[in-house]
């Protein structure tokens, strides 16, 4: 047995070396980023590509939020929010007009976007958690998955927008951009406490989703305006 082991060990060592070599090369092959534009430096996507990616994500985010919200609409009547704000992001001043949005400028627009995205990070995870806790398993499973997906997307989108803003700043497009967001709206508890203190029920879900749907639409629209003002291509 010992002899066998002795004989085996060098083989194993060689095998490991070969396997590592193979993996290294394969990983190297996979590690190379894919550049759809065939540029020389494939590692750095262009600003236009970044914008496209971000817009795609925002569009997807909005789509899911709309789906989720539409489900709730069938079952529960909307609350009457007369007299008070419905969404916790009411404090974020967002342009509600095309002209207003255009007047904001790139930096502020980017800031608004980021604020919105950051404001929704936690509430969405709370939503997801709350949905998963619901008793009606079948119905909520689909929703909780969607909520999870949305929270992921929001997180990624936020990172992407930050990258876009930084790139723009590097290119001189975003002079005054400040990547640091004031922490006033970043209170995790305050955000969700806006809707309800304690645990959220399904009614709360609906309100939350209503607000999120709107804000996602805002983000999507602002991003497009940002892109079209920066790159007036055929898509705009």
């Amino acid at each position: 047995m010992r002899k066998m082991q002795k004989v085996k060990s060098p083989f194993i060592a060689w095998f490991a070396v070969i396997a590592l070599m193979y993996l290294k090369y394969s990983v190297m092959a996979d590690a190379a980023p894919i550049c759809s534009y065939g540029q020389a430096t494939c590692h750095v996507p262009s600003l236009a590509d970044l914008f496209d990616r971000v817009i795609q994500q925002s569009s997807r985010m909005h789509g899911i939020s709309t789906d989720l919200h539409s489900e709730f609409d069938h079952y529960l009547p909307s609350k009457n929010f007369i007299g008070k704000q419905r969404c916790h992001t009411y404090a974020i001043l967002t342009p509600d007009d095309k002209e207003k949005a255009q007047r904001l400028g790139r930096e502020q627009l980017t800031e608004v976007i980021l604020r919105l995205l950051m404001a929704w990070g936690d509430p969405l995870s709370q939503l997801h958690w709350s949905m998963s806790q619901d008793q009606n398993q079948d119905f909520n499973q689909y929703r909780s998955n969607k909520a999870l997906e949305i929270s992921d997307i929001v997180r990624e989108l936020k990172d992407g927008v930050i990258k876009v803003a930084e790139r723009m700043k590097r290119l001189g497009l975003n002079g005054n951009f400040v990547s640091y967001i004031s922490p006033e709206n970043v209170d995790p508890f305050s955000a969700i406490s806006f809707y309800k203190r304690g645990e959220l029920n399904s009614v709360d879900h609906q309100d939350l989703l209503y607000c999120f749907r709107r804000d996602s639409h805002k983000v999507k629209t602002y991003l497009r305006i940002l892109k079209c003002s920066t790159f007036p291509t055929l898509d705009c």
Partner: protein
């Protein structure tokens, strides 16, 4: 009844319009008012514009429109009876966008490598601000053939141009386009654009041309092949009708192209007598000529003698060949042949007629004197021929018997030295072909010639049977050992030869005389001057000058056939008529140099 807000729409997300439906007003004039609350504030606003959008509508212009703001709208109907409130509706402009239809829809027929396709292009509704990105529109178009009911829809995304392939030439198409914001309502279909696709034969024509060229090439090749093989095809499709064949008729005659042969062939249609009964008729008429085998003289049958068409009256009864035919020699030839046949019969000649002929040959008793016509010919002794005949009576002959009979007369074709024989057409019965055959057959194997010889004999025999036989045919049949004895020379310059038969010596008074010596002169031929060429006897005369050829000497013994014998070449010609020349009669030889007055024995 209370009114009802039916719908609110914003075409570009900057303004919007709401319509309501008035309830039953009971016939009383009723006024309607629209009030709204913005985004959960307490301030009530009334519709700023009731007229722009038409009746029962409220138009919100840009100043009054806020996107992402919840409008709580209520319509109030007021009449004399009172007022009625509609149910409030929440409206968010961002979600009620329904753009106008796309504008400037143009359809062009374009060509891609010969194939036509439709290129549809349009523009966004002018009010929708896509340029700034405020609205994102996606488009959709539909196409259908004129006269059909089903539309073919295509999703165009955000592009403003679309290609439709796979269209039919020569037909009219209807195209419509509509648009929708990424989240909103579809616009109405644009007004129909008609497009007529012209007839496109380009591609189809080239295809047809290709097909036609290819098929024409194939056709040409097929025709060529057929033409090349037309002959075989004819045989295959239209097999040649077997023509009538005459039994015993050799096609070769015609192929050889000798007129004499052809004539003779044609002339004796009935020729080969297939029944022995005919032979009996012939029997009577033939003289028997006995020719000893020892003396195998090659008798050249003179054409004249053999082919003489003169009918000779042969008195078959008499032992002497009373046939005064000048073709005596030819008759002899014939008989010789017959004899040969007879002898050959033992060897298994397959022709029955041969037997008869043999008899006929036996019956042949007389020979006539060679006529002067034969002068040019040399008379060959048959016996040599005969002796060798049996050897050659082989099966091949069978096939040819009838033919040869019909066409070959006195044989000795092979016996003739090449070039010695002259062809003379003596008459219709002249069987030129014999000689021609002789010559033609000379290069052929001996057997062939012998066959001919036999045939000759046969022919001769049958011929006499028909009594149409020229004197030629009335040749006495010769046995292999038959000799011809020159009897006399009659006044007609005919050498009367008497066949000497050892067995039948009794018939001839002069028989014993004849048989005295071993040496007999063989009648070689008839010289040009009516000379009977005789060949002195073989054995003792080897060196005789009369023997022209040593070769010929040797020819006597059977091998005389050998063909190129020149038996006669230097034979001395003996003038037949009237000349008396010393004849050595002591030994029974007839000196060829001497005339024949014939040793009359």
């Amino acid at each position: 009844d209370k009114p009802k807000l039916t719908s609110c729409r914003s075409p570009e997300k900057e303004t919007f319009t709401c319509w309501w439906q008035p309830g039953h007003d009971g016939g009383l004039p009723t006024t309607y008012a629209l009030y709204y609350l913005k985004d959960n504030s307490d301030t009530i606003y009334e519709c700023p514009d009731y007229h722009t959008a038409g009746e029962n509508s409220c138009f919100f212009n840009k100043n009054d429109t806020s996107v992402w703001v919840n409008y709580n709208i209520t319509v109030v109907a007021t009449n004399a009876l009172g007022s009625n409130f509609s149910d409030p509706e929440d409206v968010d402009v961002a979600y009620i966008v329904q753009p106008h239809t796309p504008e400037n829809v143009t359809v062009n027929v374009m060509e891609d490598k010969g194939w036509p396709f439709l290129r549809v292009s349009w523009e966004s509704p002018h009010k929708a601000d896509i340029r700034s990105g405020w609205i994102t529109l996606i488009y959709e178009l539909r196409v259908k053939l004129e006269g059909e009911e089903e539309w073919e829809e295509h999703h165009a995304g955000q592009q403003k141009m679309f290609n439709i392939f796979s269209i039919r030439s020569g037909s009219t198409y209807l195209v419509q386009v509509r648009c929708k914001p990424d989240h909103g309502f579809w616009s109405e279909w644009s007004s129909t654009t008609y497009v007529k696709v012209p007839e496109y034969f380009f591609r189809e024509r080239s295809l047809w041309i290709l097909v036609m060229i290819f098929s024409s090439f194939t056709l040409i090749i097929l025709l060529w092949i057929v033409h090349m093989n037309s002959h075989s095809l004819k045989h295959c499709l239209l097999p040649p009708v077997p023509g009538p064949k005459i039994k015993g008729f050799d096609q070769q005659i015609f192929k050889n192209g000798r007129s004499d042969e052809i004539l003779s062939a044609l002339m004796v249609p009935n020729f080969p007598p297939t029944k022995s009964s005919n032979y009996e008729d012939l029997l009577v008429e033939y003289l028997e000529v006995y020719v000893s085998e020892e003396q195998e003289l090659i008798l050249e049958e003179s054409k004249d003698s053999c082919l003489k068409s003169d009918s000779s009256t042969c008195d078959s009864d008499s032992g002497r060949g009373s046939c005064d035919s000048h073709t005596l020699l030819t008759d002899k030839c014939g008989e010789a042949k017959r004899e040969r046949r007879a002898s050959g019969e033992d060897s298994g000649m397959t022709i029955e007629s041969q037997k008869g002929w043999e008899e006929e040959a036996l019956s042949y008793t007389q020979e006539d004197v060679a006529t002067p016509d034969v002068s040019s010919r040399r008379v060959k002794t048959w016996p040599s021929v005969f002796s060798t005949v049996p050897q050659y009576t082989t099966s091949p002959l069978d096939q040819k018997t009838s033919l040869e009979l019909s066409k070959q007369h006195c044989l000795s074709d092979t016996l003739f030295p090449p070039g010695s024989s002259t062809k003379e057409v003596l008459g219709p019965n002249y069987w030129e072909f014999d000689l021609s055959n002789k010559q033609s057959h000379l290069p052929q194997p001996q057997t062939h010639g012998s066959q001919q010889l036999q045939a000759h004999s046969d022919v001769n025999i049958s011929y006499t049977g028909n009594k149409q036989v020229p004197a030629l045919l009335q040749l006495p049949g010769f046995k292999s050992t038959e000799y011809v004895e020159v009897q006399k020379v009659n006044q007609e310059d005919m050498v009367i030869l008497q066949p000497v038969e050892s067995d039948n010596c009794g018939r001839d008074e002069e028989c014993p005389h004849v048989l005295q010596g071993e040496d007999y002169s063989k009648v070689k031929g008839v010289g040009s001057d009516n000379l009977l060429l005789l060949q002195s006897g073989v054995k003792a005369r080897m060196g005789d000058e009369m023997e022209a050829n040593g070769v010929s000497e040797s020819c006597y013994t059977s091998s005389s056939f050998a063909t190129t014998q020149k038996h006669i070449d230097s034979m001395h010609s003996a003038t037949i008529p009237g000349q008396e020349e010393p004849i050595r009669a002591t030994t029974g030889y007839v000196d060829t140099t001497t005339m024949f007055t014939l040793p009359m024995y």
